[in-house]
């Protein structure tokens, strides 16, 4: 009877652990607030393993406390305790029970491993070579920025990943310079972007959870890649299926950036002189990967952040262009465009902030 | 029993390499070292297999273009024979026949040098005929590192044998230097075994494609 009571207390305690865990962190960045099926299945494994492990810890702690309370040596006590060789019965118990506990964890682990690696949908192509019923995004990680190419839509963008909610989004992952790792904690675990070969996986973004976090998730680079590794953030913008399709249509329709105002026009000239060698300004960038040396700026005016980390303000755009090294040490943009005068920078900023696709 | 004590055929122990504690330690320690060396070469083999025929462009030479059986077969025979002659040397060492041991070691060394000469010729051939160099491709780096590591071991083994023979030429065998000769020959056998794997994995499998 007493034992059963104990068990109930245990379950209550575990429930609390689960609650505490899920209460942690901000919904747009925490793995403890899963916002999709992939993250959920990983979170479930986390809870399962935590429960098993808390069970183990409790057993150890109880034995431990009993031992250090009961068997302290009294002052001046010179008795010699009985020398016990061991106990086969006990040893079998603490060999077999852990094995059983591990099997409980191992089975769902193996099943989930295979589930999350199932990217067969990416291989089903129609006669035009387009993926049949799946959305594919090619992710290319670079020293400290991200490129997202939608091969079936013919659209390239960077820094802000736009995805439809409530469906599987498949990713091809690669890196162009050094190894990085693609991680959206709220949506699921990470996968490395290697310099050799392409890694594939999928994520899902739940529409309700997306609303909870104001339709934004933070993405991170999770593999040390140089000085600004910590600043290699990107943002994920989840959209409903119809909104996503509308966005894709807008993106495709941009042939050339249209800006208004003299300052911005002047900025365009500066851009075409100093920046266009690396940066594209339309989402239909058909150049090969190697030529796309810098983030695509077609949606720059709508970005969540400047350079992935700074607040999206005019002042920050100017600061960034003036001295990128200060905000992202080790970036590959510093020193590639000569000295720009303050008026050049003002003009350029005006131009860049008008680069929008959706809000037109 | 002092290590540099003089022995007659009658007093010479059956396993002179393990007759003293120092000898026993050397013998065991060296076997263990060869265990580590095995892992070292295993890592190099794995690297080679991963990078075999991995070249930057279509013009670079591949394994099947490079390797020729006759040359490597002769090299293999030279090294295998030298392993056999070192066994004879150790047979005489165990029987306290110093002169005969030295003679067989001289043959072993000569065969070793012949092998090294062939290897140098071979590398030279690849570099000049095929532009297959250490820096030309990942395949080149892996090939020269694996085979070169082995070649380096051969060269070190030769120097080892020579310095042992020169050092002990006048004073003959005793329980202090017997273990040294013995582990040098162990090393030589190990080199030979590694070569058998190189011959199979790099050359034979390379020629098959």
């Amino acid at each position: 009877m007493k034992k059963r009571l104990h068990k109930w207390r245990l379950i209550a305690l575990l429930g609390i652990v689960g609650l505490v865990l899920s209460g942690c962190g901000e919904p747009f960045v925490s793995a403890l607030k899963p916002a999709g099926d992939v993250a959920q299945s990983q979170f479930d494994l986390l809870i399962l393993s935590t429960l098993i492990m808390v069970l183990v810890i409790i057993v150890v702690i109880i034995l431990f406390v009993v031992v250090i309370l009961r068997f302290r040596r009294k002052k001046g006590d010179e008795t010699i305790p009985k020398q016990i060789e061991g106990s086969h019965k006990l040893e079998i118990i603490w060999t077999v029970i852990p094995i059983l506990l591990l099997i409980v964890l191992a089975v769902p682990t193996v099943v989930t491993t295979f589930d999350l690696a199932d990217t067969k949908a990416m291989d089903k192509k129609d006669k035009d070579g387009k993926t049949k019923d799946a959305l594919v995004v090619n992710v290319r990680a670079n020293l400290y920025w991200w490129e997202f190419e939608y091969p079936d839509l013919g659209v390239v963008t960077s820094q802000d990943l736009v995805v439809p909610t409530d469906q599987k989004v498949y990713f091809n992952l690669t890196a162009s310079d050094v190894k990085h790792s693609f991680w959206i904690p709220a949506a699921g675990g990470k996968m490395d972007t290697n310099t050799d070969g392409v890694n594939k996986f999928y994520l899902e973004f739940d529409s309700e959870k997306a609303e909870d976090s104001n339709n934004i998730f933070y993405g991170k680079c999770a593999e040390l890649c140089g000085p600004s590794h910590a600043l290699m953030d990107f943002k994920v913008v989840p959209k409903s299926k119809s909104d996503f399709e509308a966005w894709a249509k807008d993106m495709k329709s941009v042939k050339e950036p249209v800006v208004e105002g003299d300052v911005a026009k002047q900025g365009e000239a500066v851009f075409n002189k100093s920046c266009i060698g690396c940066h594209a300004v339309t989402p239909n960038d058909s150049r090969p990967e190697a030529a796309r040396q810098a983030p695509n700026l077609a949606t720059f005016g709508e970005r969540q952040r400047i350079a992935g980390v700074l607040d999206h303000t005019e002042a920050n755009v100017k600061n960034w262009i003036k001295d990128p090294e200060k905000y992202k040490p080790g970036n590959t943009m510093t020193g590639t465009y000569g000295e720009l005068s303050d008026s050049d920078i003002d003009a350029l900023t005006a131009y860049l902030l008008q680069l929008k696709v959706e809000e037109k | 029993m002092h290590a540099d004590e003089k022995f007659t055929d009658a007093t010479w122990p059956a396993s002179p390499e393990k007759a003293t504690l120092e000898g026993k330690n050397k013998y065991l320690g060296f076997w263990l070292f060869l265990g580590g060396e095995t892992v070292l070469f295993a890592s190099l083999f794995a690297t080679y297999l991963a990078l075999k025929d991995k070249v930057p462009n279509g013009e670079a030479a591949l394994a099947k273009d490079l390797f020729e059986l006759p040359l490597t077969f002769v090299a293999t025979m030279l090294l295998l024979t030298s392993s056999l002659t070192s066994v004879y040397a150790m047979y005489h060492m165990k029987n306290n026949h110093f002169k005969q041991m030295q003679a067989w070691l001289v043959i072993t060394i000569a065969l070793g040098f012949a092998f090294l000469g062939l290897e140098i010729y071979e590398f030279n051939h690849y570099v000049h005929e095929f532009h297959h160099t250490f820096t030309s491709s990942a395949f080149g780096s892996a090939f020269y590192t694996l085979v070169g590591f082995h070649g380096g071991h051969v060269a070190f083994g030769l120097l080892w044998f020579i310095s042992l023979m020169v050092r002990n030429a006048r004073r003959g065998l005793n329980l202090y230097n017997a273990p040294k000769f013995y582990i040098a020959s162990l090393y030589w056998h190990f080199i030979d075994v590694v070569w058998v794997f190189i011959f199979t994995v790099v050359y034979l499998m390379g020629m098959v494609g």
Binding site: I68, E91, W94, K179, A222, H229 | V39, S163, Y176
Partner: protein, 623 residues
């Protein structure tokens, strides 16, 4: 001979240590240099925690931070934990098996000097253009991309010190196999000796892959090879495999000796033989074996595919079983015992819950799909600090406190020891427990800063406060060491009063030949067996006779120094400087010349004569 160790000038003492081949003195060398590197690594850790105390901090710059984090990891693993483990092995293992020295005293010295010069070389990078900055794992694409010479220092420094570790491994294996005292069967060996034995085998098989990895990296960076250059057909994943085939056994190389130390301490201060000795031995061997089968769990997100991930996940979980056996055996060693809470025992007791925490997060990490979330986040940082600090460092602190009297003949102060213990332990949990949650809340590892408003501020602040507590604990320990060394109150053979194994049957510190007569071992816990029969000493296994001892030699320093010099030449070789080739040649000449001298100059050692030994015993407690 008997006055040999008495009254020497400072210069003579230095020369003595430079040339010594005595395992006890080499242990002290390892302890001092390992301790020094531990303090350096600790300072680097403090820089890290200060930088991360608040969001957007600019205490150190981004590039410098990467150097600090790399050197913190590299220093702590290779230059602090490894040598401190070797210090205890050298100090204790020959005594525990009843040997007069290790099998290869010369190699023992050479191993130390290789480690030392390798460590110094690596740390000189701070003053010569910047330290390595690609993490202690130094993944190939980033380390090839890294400018400057930092990575070259990493490659060459680790290569040199790695040779030293390999030698130590072979040395201990041969020592334990060949030099046990009469009656010391394998199943009577103390558990610290057993763990040293298994660890030495791990070193022997784990270091060569690292050697190969470092050679390939060196060829790529310094001599134009293309192993990791994808454009020329190379493959960066090879580095990851080679590194972790070494790297995973490496963590067992560190933790198993700690297990061994704790096993000795639990038995000693519970006055009870180790519970389930044979299953403890079996578990140690099994952990060592499985340690080689699980390296790819560090690469779950690399993209090896579901089959590899599933296999390595299950294999990793299997390691929990032998580790669990150990935990329960330790608890049941205390059960029914007479437990005395000395400082070493405090560490041992604290180790059980702490290490259990680290172990269970290890199991959580083994679950591959969940690991996609944990990998390279602060969760992993928390996990491995729980096992390495909560296991290895607690073990080393316990071992140093426990064996201090055997090494130096004086006890460390208990009160100060307790202060160190409590501040270090509380500081440790404060620092690292919260990091589990930081990781799960989306904080990647190895970030030099974090942005505000991500829910990460409080946790990081708590962590930094904890780090200061740990630093305080270490500071008190240093003070403790200084005070007790100055006081230098001599203790007898068995200062803890409950010694069970051979090392407690001889003076503290032991004479340089350890055992005047080799002891006869009549069971597990040989000294305890004799004590229980009312005897004060071991029964000798041989009559008093001449003792053969090895000669001191300066050549190990020369050999290691030559490589140190050559490494500078190799390092700057890629800058096309004309002086580099001569430097390489000079360095290698010093090394190989010294080796040749060693090889052609006969060294038969010397004998201590029976008569001198008799003198010794008449004089009584001479140290």
């Amino acid at each position: 001979m008997s006055t040999y160790a008495n009254k020497k000038g400072f210069g003579a003492t230095i020369w003595d240590y430079l040339t010594t081949v005595d395992h006890k003195k080499i242990a002290i060398l390892y302890l001092i240099s390992g301790g020094l590197f531990f303090v350096i690594g600790g300072l680097e850790a403090m820089f890290i925690r200060i930088q991360l105390a608040i969001p957007n901090n600019d205490f150190v710059s981004a590039g410098f931070y990467n150097e600090i984090l790399t050197m913190h990891g590299t220093t702590m693993i290779f230059l602090a934990a490894m040598p401190l483990v070797f210090a205890l092995m050298n100090a204790v293992v020959p005594l525990q098996i009843g040997a007069r020295d290790v099998a290869f005293p010369f190699l023992n010295s050479l191993g130390f000097w290789l480690f030392f010069f390798g460590g110094v070389f690596l740390n000189l990078s701070w003053f010569l253009g910047g330290a390595p900055d690609a993490g202690w794992t130094s993944y190939a694409s980033l380390s090839l991309h890294s400018a400057g010479h930092g990575i070259d220092f990493y490659v060459l420094g680790l290569q040199i010190s790695g040779f030293g570790s390999l030698m130590a491994g072979i040395n201990f294996l041969v020592t334990i196999i060949n030099m046990r005292a009469p009656g010391m069967t394998y199943m009577r060996m103390p558990l610290f000796t057993w763990s040293t034995f298994v660890v030495s085998a791990l070193i022997l098989f784990a270091f060569p892959p690292l050697t190969v990895g470092l050679v390939l990296m060196m060829f790529d960076r310094m001599f134009g090879a293309n192993f990791f250059d994808v454009a020329a057909g190379g493959n960066t994943i090879i580095w990851e495999h080679l590194f972790w085939i070494f790297g995973h056994p490496e963590v067992y190389i560190l933790i198993l000796p700690a297990f061994g130390i704790f096993s000795e301490i639990f038995a000693t201060f519970s006055r009870k033989r180790l519970f389930g000795y044979s299953s403890m031995v079996f578990a140690t061997v099994l952990i060592g074996f499985l340690g080689f089968m699980v390296w790819a769990h560090h690469m779950f997100t690399t993209g090896l595919g579901p089959i590899a991930n599933a296999i390595f996940a299950v294999a990793t979980m299997a390691i929990a079983v032998p580790t669990g056996i150990k935990i329960f055996n330790w608890i049941f060693t205390m059960w029914g015992g007479s437990v005395k809470f000395t400082v070493p025992m405090l560490y041992a007791v604290a180790f059980i819950p702490t290490f259990t925490m680290g172990g269970v997060t290890g199991i959580m990490l083994a679950s591959a799909p969940a690991d996609y979330q944990y990998h390279d986040s602060y969760f992993v940082v928390a996990h491995f600090h729980y096992v390495i600090v909560g296991g290895v460092v607690l073990g080393l602190l316990a071992g140093i406190n426990f064996y201090w009297p055997k090494m130096f003949g004086t006890l460390l102060n208990e009160k100060l020891g307790q202060i160190t213990f409590w501040t270090f332990l509380i500081g440790f949990h404060l620092t690292f427990f919260i990091q589990h949650f930081l990781g799960l809340m989306g904080m990647p590892r190895r970030v030099f800063t974090f942005l505000d408003n991500q829910g990460l501020n409080t946790g990081n602040m708590i962590s930094t406060v904890g780090a200061f507590l740990m630093a305080f604990g270490v500071l008190v320990m240093v003070i403790n060491i200084i005070i007790t060394s100055v006081k230098n109150e001599k203790v007898g053979n068995d200062p803890w009063g409950d010694g069970r194994t051979l090392e407690w049957s001889i003076p503290s510190p032991p004479p340089f030949y350890n055992f005047k007569q080799l002891p006869l071992v009549r069971g597990l816990d040989a000294y305890w067996v004799e004590k229980m029969e009312g005897k004060k000493e071991m029964t000798p296994a041989e009559p008093l006779g001449d003792i053969h001892m090895p000669n001191s030699s300066f050549l190990p320093v020369m050999i290691a120094f030559g490589l140190f010099v050559a490494a500078f030449g190799a390092l700057y070789h890629m800058d096309d400087k004309s002086w580099t080739l001569p430097i390489i040649i000079v360095g290698l000449l010093i090394t190989f010349g010294s080796m040749l001298i060693r090889s052609v100059k006969d060294d038969h050692g010397f004998h201590i004569h029976k008569e001198d030994l008799m003198d010794d015993s008449d004089k009584g407690g001479k140290a």
